[in-house]
């Protein structure tokens, strides 16, 4: 089953690449550097999806103590951190030729960085608690706190960057986008979402096997 998902994912990713490089046009203002968006934006989408899943799985675990929920939360957090890191890296690489600097404290990069550190802490917590039941409970609590923090992060960072600031700050991502670009973005959204499902499925299986082996 997982293998089928993997296969479909591969097809999706290939289609995404074709769309990003073959079908999508050279962007008018930014040039071909804009194509990085086809990796950067789906990555951040997957990250948020992953952390939403962590929230739900954490709540389910605390309410029902289903081990599967705990494994799902763990796996989703790990994949989420992976894609968050990727978002930051690709965003930075895009930023260098566009803004002239590798790093800038713009709203998106700052928010995503805070997210990155929060959930990295989640993984750290899991790594540091030996008792698996306690680790699961504590991680679930942290997963809930972190998720509720996300809207706070968004608003605070956005206000921090835009209020009393000249609106000349460029944000990544085009404004009104021609249909082809939207289409390419959508294909990559789907492909990356499939990749998320594939990774999480494999990771959950791995967690289950490792738990069974340890039992």
């Amino acid at each position: 089953m997982v293998r089928i998902v993997g296969g479909v994912t591969l097809v999706g990713l290939a289609a995404g690449l074709v769309m990003a490089f073959g079908v999508a046009p050279r962007e008018v203002t930014q040039g071909n550097v804009q194509r990085i968006m086809y990796v950067h934006v789906p990555s951040v989408w997957v990250a948020y999806l992953a952390f939403a899943v962590v929230l739900v799985a954490s709540i389910v675990y605390l309410a029902r103590r289903v081990d599967g929920a705990d494994r799902l939360a763990h796996a989703s957090a790990e994949v989420g951190v992976l894609f968050t890191g990727l978002t930051i890296a690709t965003g930075s690489i895009w930023g260098k030729p566009t803004w002239g600097t590798w790093w800038t404290w713009d709203a998106r990069l700052t928010s995503v960085s805070i997210l990155f550190v929060m959930y990295l802490g989640y993984l750290l917590l899991r790594g540091m608690i030996e008792d698996p039941d306690q680790g699961a409970r504590y991680a679930a609590v942290l997963g809930i706190v972190a998720a509720f923090n996300i809207p706070l992060v968004h608003f605070s960072v956005y206000w921090w960057r835009t209020l009393h600031q000249p609106p000349s700050l460029m944000k990544p991502g085009p404004g009104t986008m021609p249909g082809v670009i939207v289409a390419a973005l959508m294909v990559n959204f789907v492909a990356f979402s499939l990749l998320y499902v594939y990774f999480v499925a494999k990771r959950v299986n791995l967690l289950r096997r490792e738990a069974e082996a340890a039992a």
Partner: protein, 225 residues
């Protein structure tokens, strides 16, 4: 035994322990003083530069001191094998959370008051007019800090690298609160009315509610085992 009474007993116990040993408060006071020196050396004598960084430095002082103080919230219980007693206490465990939170708030407010006075002295600030507004901002920000801090302190109290994990978990979660408080403090210190930073205050209020509610709802799960 009512919820409130149970919470109050926790606060009272901690106050008594603290009054007898004074270890936490003395150390924190001394630490706050040292921070002032460090800030002065780090930022230099240039008045203008200092004025610009003052709100940030103030909150840095609160947070660094708070990390030390909050991190120790459950150490007394751990060291004296009282964790089990907490666990086995009958009734709603979140009363313990509220009690610990109240105790931490008390501690934070005292430390913050001292830091504000010291800042005023060392950096020659005129705080008289802005004090009420400042109190509001500090109050709102501290509740959010203490609410999460108390919860995380319980979670990290038995991890081997507690002193490392506690700040690592707490600081990212506090980032938006810190942004809000520094911006609001900046405005307040410049004499602007609270209304001008209403959005920041609302964010802090929301954070306070969210974090306290989550703390109350999840503390039971932290205290198990």
């Amino acid at each position: 035994m009512t919820f409130a009474r149970r919470a109050f007993i926790v606060v009272w116990k901690d106050l008594l322990v603290e009054r007898r040993s004074k270890e936490t408060f003395n150390a924190l006071f001394f630490f706050a003083l040292l921070l002032l020196f460090v800030f002065q050396f780090a930022v230099g004598p240039d008045r203008e530069r200092l004025a610009g960084t003052l709100p940030g430095l103030l909150w840095l002082g609160f947070i660094l001191t708070g990390l030390l103080g909050l991190g120790r919230t459950f150490v007394v219980e751990r060291e004296n094998d009282c964790w089990e007693a907490l666990r086995l206490a009958p009734g709603d465990k979140s009363a313990i959370y509220v009690g610990k939170l109240a105790g931490n708030l008390l501690l934070m407010f005292v430390v913050e008051a001292i830091l504000v006075v010291l800042f005023g002295i060392f950096f020659n600030l005129d705080l008289a007019g802005v004090l009420p507004a400042l109190v509001v901002v500090i109050g709102l920000g501290t509740v959010a800090f203490a609410a999460v801090g108390t919860l995380f302190a319980a979670m990290t109290s038995q991890v081997r690298a507690r002193e490392l994990l506690f700040p690592v978990l707490l600081l990212p979660v506090q980032a938006p609160v810190l942004l809000a408080t520094v911006k609001a403090t900046e405005a307040v210190l410049l004499g602007e009315p609270l209304g001008s930073v209403a959005h920041w205050l609302k964010l802090l209020g929301a954070a306070d509610v969210i974090f306290v509610v989550v703390g109350v709802l999840t503390f039971d799960f932290v205290l198990e085992g």
